[in-house]
Symmetry: C4
Subunit: 252 residues, 4 copies
């Protein structure tokens, strides 16, 4: 019988076991801000994969990879080791498709954090404002009030008015559920329109996170993606136009 | 593994343990009538928090508080002690997001009532009529027919035609489920348009409830909230307008 | 902890225990045809209530009765005793709100049938054709091919084309699930527009069912309901118009 | 208590037990391509039924057969025996109605494959492109990279761009879940508009599958179905028109 949620560590992960690490969650969400930051850090720091999470709460589909391989939708754990500054990353294809699944997955992520003796969790996300933003701020939330001064000093904005209703999904729930386990957790949200993948917002989140964890990561290439994206959008629009022309000629 | 529903009592709650209390449920619902009444009573009577309820059936999000703190969506239990007239309040951010969850939560609320040796439950709600009402009535329902005379004497209207299909959510289910446990339960519904938070309707419910439980609570400040709310709506409308202007100037 | 589905027999039901009965299911459905037939038979035969079924798969609400009493949404079991022709009726407020719940409830109904040593199940429903029908036929389905001749002889129409995709809900599932338990089951569907409660279609189903079970039930009063309904619809339309006028005068 | 998923083998199936078979999945999906191929092969090869799968995750309804019999929605297992080339087919009425059910069913199908010592799984589906296709290609996906050369040699197209987001339902999930059990699995998808049942696309999938498993099946009659379908569509359109006329004359 399939498990509702399964966490598997790679055989090689024992050697790479992190010591008192910080956990950085960057699952898909508004503007893909969290995903961009976490995946970029994994790439730039050369973090290595240590585990995989599968769940019946993910969408019921396989993902096609470039080489023709299909694999289950999944979340992944990556590890970066650096004396006294070990990092574990939680990234992946999807979050839960059901409300209850969101709770069960977020609780499992906190179990992983507890097993790995994580000393602090950073969850990353976007904060959609519904219009384009010139200089996106980084908004924050914490699960213990004593964490605030350090974050304000690092340039995080705290404004109760803004994330009005709350923070949805893993980025939010992990704060609440980690508190029940006595693990400190901070959510960093990059201000974003919410309409597009937003590397500019991600770069600002990265800059502050990098300062907070004292692990330098050059945001330049993330900024570069912003112009790449503009080109992609142009190509996409043009592609749609060409396809329409083709269909018309087919029918005609 | 996370519990589907968890009830936790605060450490200090032992001293405040109520004696043969009345349970007043005021969770979110139509016109927020029940929520307004119960939270206003907690405030005016200085009731103290004795417990928290969390559940995977609540929306999968954390609530942001003014100080930058994020906390899980929750329900809360408050206690007011007064010789022979102890009250327990059940209030909170949300009800269930699923049909089955509504039953499981309402049953858990009745378990709490049984544990606390509650002698009667009052569930509070709004009865939406779809148009503005000048002098909102208080409609009622009971789970034991012998309760009717006392309620009619207090000014509660019983009219089968009106809450046509039934009473949805905790305010209704607790009547049915409490009956199975032998606990008397009454639902008081303030007539309301259903479009807006309705403090006027809440004030009428409060007046009758206060009489029924013989605990005086001055409804004046609840009436005051009506004018506050009008101001809030004005501000909200104006804020939207300003934001639109800003966006226009940004694009232009 | 609340049961997902609970079946409770009344204390008095032991004396009324049916002997080798026929089970007649008439839960809500298309045109309320099945419900009308079963509830009319209960009324005309003076069948007595022997049990209640509650479930978290029913809508999360209580039903308001004329006397101000609220009760859980439920299904009911009624029993009619007549030497060699005992009947058990399954009627109620609602069917399941979820797909899985439909299976779990229908299976529970079949468990009840097995416990009561039911020798045959008749499930009743409407077959919606999307337009008004002058002389509604009674369509049928069986769970054992040997049952066909008897039904055809009684005037039931079998036409594969017609209930195209299948029969949804308890009326259908009980046929499939009863077969697995070795209990014969027949579905009788009254042709109906599907837009309105349809007593004319119900009268035709009743006439055939009455013949099949050899228990005479006069359909006259069911036919009378057809004209009552026309009056009700007229009143309803007029009522809506009056309410609109009232609202206009309120605003004006 | 009903099982969430039940697999029953027919009594006669012991004699027909396949030896190291290949499993071919053709459940309903886009353009019914997989269903058409698998059911056509069962018909042409004279494969015999060996088992049935029922589940509460299928739609809550019974299917009406031509003879007035109603049966539960189900999946079926068929077996074709031929020395060294035994085949097992998985076909049926429906896939899951819920996301979680898709995972639980696909995992159960893989359990069946493991029990029957299946050496390879072929899942069949359609790949909807949103416009009519003149010469539909057969696209592929694998769950082990070493399977690619054989498939490319047989004419399967691998193009990462095309099944963009992934493969939904059993055809996809079985690849991912079979990999966890060490069973090779291949998905063959016929390019199709996605709007209609597509026998032309099915014929192309059949041709390639037949080559891969080295079991010749003449696709001619599948091609014939293309013209039958055109006639069916004409009749269907005409039927609707006639019905409309009838309704008009009824009202008029």
């Amino acid at each position: 019988m399939i498990e509702e949620i399964s966490v598997r560590y790679l055989d090689t992960s024992a050697e790479k076991k992190p010591v008192d690490p910080i956990l950085i969650e960057g699952l898909p969400g508004i503007g893909q801000v969290g995903k961009l930051v976490a995946e970029y850090m994994i790439h730039m720091l050369g973090a290595e994969k240590i585990g995989e999470i599968h769940s019946i709460y993910f969408p019921p589909q396989v993902i096609l990879e470039e080489n023709g391989m299909a694999r289950l939708a999944r979340n992944e754990l990556y590890c970066y080791r650096s004396l006294g500054k070990d990092l574990v990353f939680l990234v992946g294809d999807h979050q839960s498709t059901s409300n209850e699944g969101h709770y069960l997955l977020a609780d499992q992520y906190c179990s992983v954090a507890e097993e790995l003796k994580v000393k602090r969790i950073y969850t990353l996300g976007g904060f959609g404002v519904g219009h384009l933003v010139n200089d996106p701020r980084v908004l924050g939330a914490v699960n213990r009030v004593e964490l605030l001064p350090e974050l304000k000093a690092a340039g995080v904005t705290f404004n109760r008015e803004e994330p009005g209703g709350g923070i949805i999904g893993a980025a939010g729930l992990m704060l609440g559920l980690a508190a029940q386990r006595g693990i400190d957790a901070v959510c960093l949200m990059g201000e974003t329109s919410g309409y597009l993948v937003d590397p500019m917002s991600a770069a600002n989140v990265l800059t502050i996170l990098s300062k907070l964890i004292d692990v330098p990561v050059d945001p330049t290439k993330l900024n570069d993606r912003a112009s790449e994206m503009e080109k992609f959008i142009e190509k996409f629009v043009e592609g749609n136009r060409l396809q329409k022309d083709e269909e018309l000629s087919y029918i005609g």
